[in-house]
């Protein structure tokens, strides 16, 4: 699969490494070149400096041929906007979007985005550790 | 009041009441001061209307309890043989409503009460009193309730 990841934080970089290990072709976008230090030294994918809410950079990252797009920047709204561009403008078959705010996550989920709220998931996991 | 010298004349008092314990003391104080200067006391109760409703919405339980609060103020005034004018105001925020009312009525003094209250473990004045202190054009007399009583 061709995968475009927007946001090279801990999660983005880890995901890029996992996907590459599994044999996928990965491009990672981040506005801050320093973020790419988190990628494994042997990373063979494409790290690209650019804003994933800007179609020009999405195209450079190969959004037109992508089979999947993942938005994992620190900004919920940036993730939401980029994911909607990937889904509705470029018709990427699989689009996943991280949204910290659970209420916003629920809304965009009902609007048809595939969403994950680490706030919700994290709190539930911790609860299970505490009372489970 | 100052004896022998030129005493400042306060004749119009605005007393915002909330239904808390301080009400009796501030209404009584205002009445006593007004009687000396043959002045007038306006007692107002501000209902803060949630933005989910239009400002002029009919907020029934609040209006009813506001009327009770004002009736109590009239009773206190009666006991000092004074008359007060009462009014219920609907506003988005209490502080600005009090200041606007003071300006509109051209009062010379606002007398307001403050419960001694703690929030997150610390003494807390809320938003209304600081706003009025910062923005009222006239002198403000603040009556702070005793410590301990109002702590829930």
């Amino acid at each position: 699969m061709n995968v475009v990841i927007m946001g090279c934080g801990r999660v983005g970089a880890q995901l890029a490494a996992l996907l590459e290990e599994a044999g996928h072709k990965v491009a990672v976008l981040d506005t801050e070149p320093y973020s790419f230090r988190r990628l494994p030294a042997a990373f063979k994918g494409t790290p690209l400096v650019g804003d994933g809410t800007d179609e020009e950079y999405l195209k450079k990252a190969g959004i037109e041929e992508a089979d999947a797009f993942v938005a994992v920047t620190q900004g919920d709204n940036r993730n939401v906007m980029a994911a909607q561009i990937a889904k509705h403008v470029y018709n990427v078959p699989k689009v996943v979007c991280r949204i910290y705010d659970p209420i916003r996550e629920e809304l965009y989920h009902t609007l048809g985005l595939e969403t994950i709220s680490p706030t919700m998931v994290g709190a539930q996991l911790l609860r299970d550790k505490v009372v489970g | 009041m100052v004896q022998g010298g030129e005493s400042v004349k306060y004749t119009k008092f605005l007393v915002p009441v909330t239904g808390k314990k301080a009400d009796d003391d501030i209404v009584r104080t205002a009445c006593v001061l007004a009687r000396r200067s043959k002045g007038k006391v306006y007692v107002v109760h501000v209902i803060q209307v949630s933005r989910a409703l239009p400002l002029d919405a009919e907020v029934e339980p609040e209006t009813q309890s506001g009327e009770n609060v004002l009736a109590n103020a009239e009773k206190i005034a009666d006991m000092t043989d004074s008359q007060v004018e009462t009014e219920i105001l609907q506003a988005r925020e209490t502080g600005p409503a009090i200041v606007d009312e003071a300006v509109e009525r051209g009062v010379d003094m606002i007398i307001m009460g403050l419960e001694y209250k703690k929030r997150f473990g610390e003494f807390d004045m809320g938003d209304t009193v600081p706003y009025v202190l910062r923005n009222a054009p006239c002198p403000v007399l603040l009556w702070r309730g005793p410590m301990g009583e109002a702590e829930a």
Binding site: T53, M81, L107 | R51
Partner: protein, 218 residues
């Protein structure tokens, strides 16, 4: 009408002032406490501190009874999300978003925002109406007077036609902000190819004007 304005910057402030003077009920949502205080001082109790994208804040300020919802922050993604939350969660009949990057206009429309306002495009429309055939037109002098916005139309016989932006040597302190070609406005990058008859909007210093015109038209 009850109108909610997200963003208490200059645009939000003056917009709200105008709406209030027309007799509308207006509420500004602004994240910054100092801006909230300043607005409250000038316009009264018409501001609430909060995030215009958060459903909880929007519920508190009665978004479900709003007739119009206008998002005018400096961030396009925030304007988009605020309007989408207002529209889909609170069923506000009319949502308006300010767009800072003109590229986003089509996208916002596609994603269901009722009205988009792009100040760049508004300026451009005026330019297109007013531009005579002179190669360089002054559009605006910026604060302080040592920078100006100018527009240059690229003549078909210019040596830059067909070249990429990065191949052209511009005078110092001159920045090409916008190119309006056959396919509409575009924020140029180093790879952008200059087309004949394209209109180029640039910021420059008055003393570099001649050199800029020469760089684009000769």
């Amino acid at each position: 009408m009850y109108i909610i304005v997200v963003g208490g910057g200059k645009v939000g402030y003056y917009l709200s002032q105008a709406l209030l003077s027309e007799g509308h009920e207006v509420l500004i949502l602004e994240k910054d406490a100092a801006k909230c205080d300043a607005i409250c001082e000038q316009l009264g109790s018409v501001v609430v501190r909060g995030d215009g994208c958060e459903a909880r804040t929007l519920a508190e300020v009665g978004t479900e009874r709003a007739d119009m919802f206008i998002a005018v922050t400096n961030e396009d993604e925030d304007n988009l999300v605020a309007c989408q939350v207002a529209k889909h969660k609170f069923k506000v009949p009319r949502t308006i978003a300010r767009i800072n990057n003109p590229k986003n206009e089509a996208l916002f429309k596609k994603l269901g925002i009722d009205v988009t306002v792009s100040s760049t495009n508004l300026i451009l429309e005026h330019i297109q109406e007013e531009v005579p055939t002179h190669p360089l037109v002054h559009l605006l002098t910026l604060k302080g007077g040592d920078l100006e916005i100018v527009e240059v139309k690229i003549p078909p016989d210019s040596s830059v036609v067909g070249k990429r932006m990065r191949q052209i040597v511009f005078p110092p302190d001159s920045v090409i902000c916008l190119m309006i070609g056959k396919w509409g406005p575009k924020v140029p990058t180093g790879d952008t190819i200059l087309e004949a008859d394209a209109q180029v909007v640039a910021v420059t210093r008055p003393e570099a004007e001649g050199a800029l015109r020469a760089a684009l038209t000769e």
